[in-house]
């Protein structure tokens, strides 16, 4: 049932909004990720603050129709700074019955649903689990439903390009994008130039997509189905040049920057795994910076080659997700024993085992901390937002090189694929990392080289790379004697070395800033403490609770091992500490064990970011009890 259209003589009124949340949902082959990405770029170009949440099935081309194959992309854009991709969408674009059914439950009453009626056949309805057509009964009464034959109108609009019906229909996502772009008065130039470039080699597809996009816009302009359009003004943001960036891209750029800032060649050894593979793809394009990427035969070879490269004087890096960390554990232990720099990146996903490859989770913290045999302390860092992945990558490299140690950097699926506007840093302001290789000893009378003699300040051992005369030495997994590095089975030496390796990691705390705490009231008695990608949800929830007059402080950790030196005092400074995590309480466990502070966990393991409203409610309960 296509909406009737006719030329509209007057421009439609424009309603100002402070923020909006739009979700595009369809089958995994419908191009929803691309549609969301373009809509995001338009919001960025307009100067909105924004946050995105792509959510897609693990299957490449999931079967059409049933719920598990639904792919979606949510964009939250605003005229003020925001922290999350938002909870309930204001507008849902559903390309078929399954996309409608999978998403409608998350809408608040009054939300707008733009639905492509073309695929509402009996068979598709049944596949999606509908017994009756929801567009024909009253089940969607509380929403504003706009049924549109997107597919049919797209096919009509692009008829002149002579595409097959199937290819013509594929442009329907651009029709939908054009329509929503009109609704929010988005700038269209970036999308049109993007389409020109993307399909430059297939002119008929290029023209069909551009035509569908424009047809969607014009449809909004002329149809009676939309009485108003909306306007979300640019957000005031600190001065600077911005771009939109995803976590994986920022992380890859951070690693390139670490190579440039240390003067070291970067060697990435990696095995493809969701959601980390994009870092391998990105780094493989940056050979001009001296970045070598090695796609290994397995996870173990990936980290093995990286560690070999580190021994040889490169900045060794390996990227993976939780299952890959499990496989790399033994080599991380070898890096601990050999005391070589190594950056190990875990883009966390739902677990255990294969778990939920495309969903987000923070359940690898304890694996990062303790997932090795023996006493094998490893510094652990976590990024808190897509843009922050850049800085965290540099910080991981700084610690690895300065302290001659493997460093575990935790990101997750949400940060990896989610994006935000990122103020582009000035290269001159980036930290410089000094590899400080051990100097050659060519004087025959020089005392023998001590490969395990420690720097008094950092407790790090020398990084003596092959090719340096006079420093020939052997490293390995067997316990080493203090200073000489010879194999040692001596009990007292083992005790000394175990403690020395721990002391070295503890020493890192001297080089990191105090805990980041924000308390506008200055008198809060409740602290909400988080780590990693929950920063956005926690910030939004804390802000919402504060707007209701409650006094709540917020802290967020980048360094999880060692913790900032003042963390114990910070925790003891509040009556109550709430720790929200996308796991069953892993940071809580560490804080309780280390500081004997009875923190309260807020734990959710659904494969999704924390729901801001739910978290705000939990904070309110804790704050009001106090």
């Amino acid at each position: 049932m296509p909406a009737r259209t006719h030329a509209h003589p007057e421009p439609k009124p424009s309603l100002p909004l402070s923020r909006a949340i739009v979700r595009f949902a369809g089958d995994s082959g419908d191009g929803m990720q691309l549609t969301g990405d373009r809509f995001t770029q338009q919001a960025a170009a307009l100067g909105n603050d924004l946050a995105t949440f792509p959510d897609f099935p693990a299957e490449i081309r999931a079967p059409r129709g049933p719920l598990p194959g639904v792919s979606s992309f949510q964009v939250h854009f605003a005229d003020h700074d925001i922290f999350t991709a938002g909870d309930a969408p204001d507008v849902l674009v559903a390309m078929n019955p399954a996309a409608l059914r999978a998403n409608v439950g998350e809408l608040d009453p009054g939300a707008t649903i733009i639905v492509d009626t073309h695929d509402f056949t009996d068979r598709n309805l049944a596949k999606a689990g509908y017994t009756a057509n929801p567009l024909e009964d009253d089940s969607l009464q509380k929403y504003s439903v706009i049924p549109v034959d997107l597919t049919g109108m797209t096919v009509d609009a692009v008829q002149k390009f002579g595409l097959s019906r199937k290819d013509a229909a594929r442009a329907k996502n651009m029709f939908a994008l054009g329509l929503v772009s009109w609704m929010y008065g988005r700038p269209t130039e970036s999308t049109i130039s993007f389409l020109r470039k993307r399909f430059a080699r297939v002119p008929e597809i290029r023209d069909a997509n551009i035509t569908a996009f424009r047809a969607g816009w014009n449809f909004g302009e002329t149809t009676e189905a939309f009485a108003v359009r909306y306007e979300v003004k640019p957000a005031p943001m600190p001065a600077g040049t911005y771009r939109n960036i995803t976590g994986n891209l920022a992380l890859a750029h951070g690693l390139v920057a670490a190579g440039v800032q240390s003067g070291l060649p970067v060697f990435l050894g990696s095995y493809p795994i969701t959601p980390a593979s994009d870092i391998l793809h990105e780094l493989s394009r940056h050979k001009r910076f001296g970045v070598t990427t090695f796609q290994a035969e397995d996870e173990i070879a990936g980290i093995g080659a990286a560690l070999g490269a580190s021994f040889a004087g490169s900045l060794g890096v390996t990227t993976t997700s939780g299952p890959g960390i499990a496989l790399k554990s033994e080599t991380i232990g070898l890096a601990v024993a050999t005391e070589l720099p190594l950056v190990v990146i875990d883009i966390q996903r739902g677990g255990p085992s294969t778990g939920l490859p495309t969903k987000t989770e923070q359940a690898d913290l304890l694996q990062a901390m303790f997932g090795r045999n023996g006493e094998a302390p490893v510094p652990v860092l976590a990024s808190r937002s897509p843009g922050d992945c850049f800085d965290t990558a540099l910080e991981a490299a700084r610690i690895a090189v300065t302290y001659r140690t493997p460093v575990l950097l935790l990101s997750d699926g949400y940060l990896a694929n989610g994006s935000e506007p990122w103020r582009i840093p000035d290269v001159a302001d980036l930290p410089v990392i000094d590899p400080a290789f051990a100097a050659p000893r060519e004087d025959a009378g020089a005392p023998p080289f001590m490969p395990f003699e420690r720097d008094p300040e950092t407790l790090a051992r020398p990084w003596a790379i092959p090719g340096t005369p006079g420093l020939e030495h052997r490293v390995g997994g067997l316990e080493k004697a203090d200073r000489t590095g010879n194999i040692s089975y001596d009990p007292a030496n083992h005790d000394l070395m175990v403690n020395a390796r721990q002391a070295k990691v503890d020493r890192i705390a001297q080089s990191i800033p105090p805990t980041w705490v924000e308390d506008p009231s200055g008198t809060a008695r409740v602290l909400v403490l988080g780590w990693g990608s929950t920063y956005g949800s926690i910030s939004a929830a804390v802000r919402s609770v504060r707007s209701n007059g409650l006094r709540v402080a917020q802290a967020h950790l980048r360094h999880l091992n060692p913790f900032p030196s003042d963390l114990g005092d910070v925790l003891r400074g509040y009556d109550k500490v709430l720790v929200p995590e996308l796991n069953l309480g892993q940071l809580s466990l560490l804080l309780r064990a280390k500081y004997l502070v009875d923190v309260i966990g807020f734990n959710k393991v659904a494969g999704l970011p924390l729901d801001t409203d739910e978290l705000a409610e939990a904070i309110t309960v804790v704050a009001e009890e106090n």
Partner: protein, 352 residues
């Protein structure tokens, strides 16, 4: 810094020594701790004696090993070294060799280390043809864990973990390597210093992954496994010597010869001269080398070809990886400036 051109193309780019070194220069100060009579001693001695011949600086040599008796090897050489973890030495060495063209990189491994726990890394190193020399000490038993059967132990082998005999078919390391697209595969024997040294020399000269299987006696857990090819009384009839360009004849009176059959090769007594296969280690197709490798007994060893099975040229992974890097770097003169461009991307907006 001089680089070497000492007849070892595999080491091109590795700086040459300024003075002459001796075997003693390559001995570290660590006490050697293998069992008395272990074949590893003979290999260590041969390697220490051979290394000076390469004419390289000690600091530009790296020995990487995994876990097992043989993997103690790097501790006894005064070069750079890493005694890593079980089975992973080829992966670690791949990183070292790819990162540094100026290093001569060696892997020392055993039959358990390289064919069992590390099988994956071995075949992929061979396939990639990374510039490494891999010495595979094959004693057909697990020594360090005290006597379990290995992936090269013969079927029926009675060991601590197979009291009623092993049920498994062993690997033939040479056949395996040839199947894994290896460009250089040789086999030699620990106690034959001359042959072992010649194999090392050819392997070091090869640019790409060179695999040298070394039959190595374990006097404690598998003593006598290679008696047939070592004992003066039997070895002439047991060893099939391979020399490139030479007819493959052997036996105390040269009475045996290797001849072609329909699809492979076989051993014939008193063959006509014109029927005897002339060994071609440089053949592009590894099929004949593979057929020759199958003349090795799979069970108790009575007969085995030794020498270089295959030696062909193929571009190496690490050379090509560095070429890509160099080609890409040629476009970038100032990395900081390029970094600024990279992180800015193409879609930016400015807020004043």
């Amino acid at each position: 810094m001089t680089t070497t051109d000492l007849g070892f193309p595999g080491l091109a780019g590795v700086p040459a020594a300024t003075g002459k070194l001796t075997a003693k220069d390559f001995a570290s100060d660590q006490e050697v701790r293998w069992c008395p009579g272990c074949g590893d001693y003979a290999i260590l001695k041969a390697v220490q004696s051979f290394l000076p011949e390469l004419g390289l600086r000690r600091e530009n040599m790296v020995f990487v090993s995994g876990i097992g008796c043989s993997s103690r090897f790097p501790y006894y050489l005064d070069t750079y070294g890493m005694h890593s973890i079980h089975g992973r030495a080829p992966a670690i060495a791949t990183g070292i060799a790819t990162a540094r063209p100026d290093l001569s990189v060696w892997v020392v491994t055993g039959d358990g280390d390289s064919l069992s726990i590390g099988g994956n890394h071995l075949i992929h190193a061979l396939r990639r043809n990374v510039n490494l020399t891999i010495l595979l000490f094959n004693n057909r038993i697990y020594g360090l864990t005290k006597g379990q059967y290995s992936p090269t132990s013969e079927t029926g082998k009675v060991t601590k973990s197979t009291p009623m005999g092993s049920l498994e078919t062993p690997f033939n390391p040479v056949s395996l390597a040839l199947g894994a697209e290896a460009t250089f595969v040789a086999r030699t024997i620990d106690s034959d210093r001359k042959h072992l040294t010649a194999a090392l020399r050819a392997a070091a000269a090869h640019r790409g992954t060179a695999l040298v299987e070394i039959y190595q006696n374990c006097p404690v857990f598998n003593d006598g496994a290679f008696d047939a090819v070592k004992n003066p009384g039997t070895r002439d009839d047991a060893i099939i010597p391979l020399e490139h360009g030479r007819p493959i004849r052997f036996g105390s009176d040269q009475q045996y010869g290797v001849v072609r059959t329909g699809t492979g090769v076989e051993i014939v007594e008193d063959p006509a001269d014109e029927d005897v296969l002339v060994h071609d280690a440089h053949a592009a197709d590894p099929a004949t080398a593979f057929a020759i490798s199958r003349l090795t007994d799979a069970g108790v060893l009575h007969r085995a070809p030794i020498g270089i099975f295959r030696q062909v040229q193929r571009p190496t992974y690490d050379d090509m990886a560095r070429e890509q890097l160099a080609a890409a770097a040629a476009e970038t003169s100032d990395r900081r400036e390029a970094l600024a461009g990279l992180i800015a991307g193409s879609d930016t907006w400015t807020i004043l």
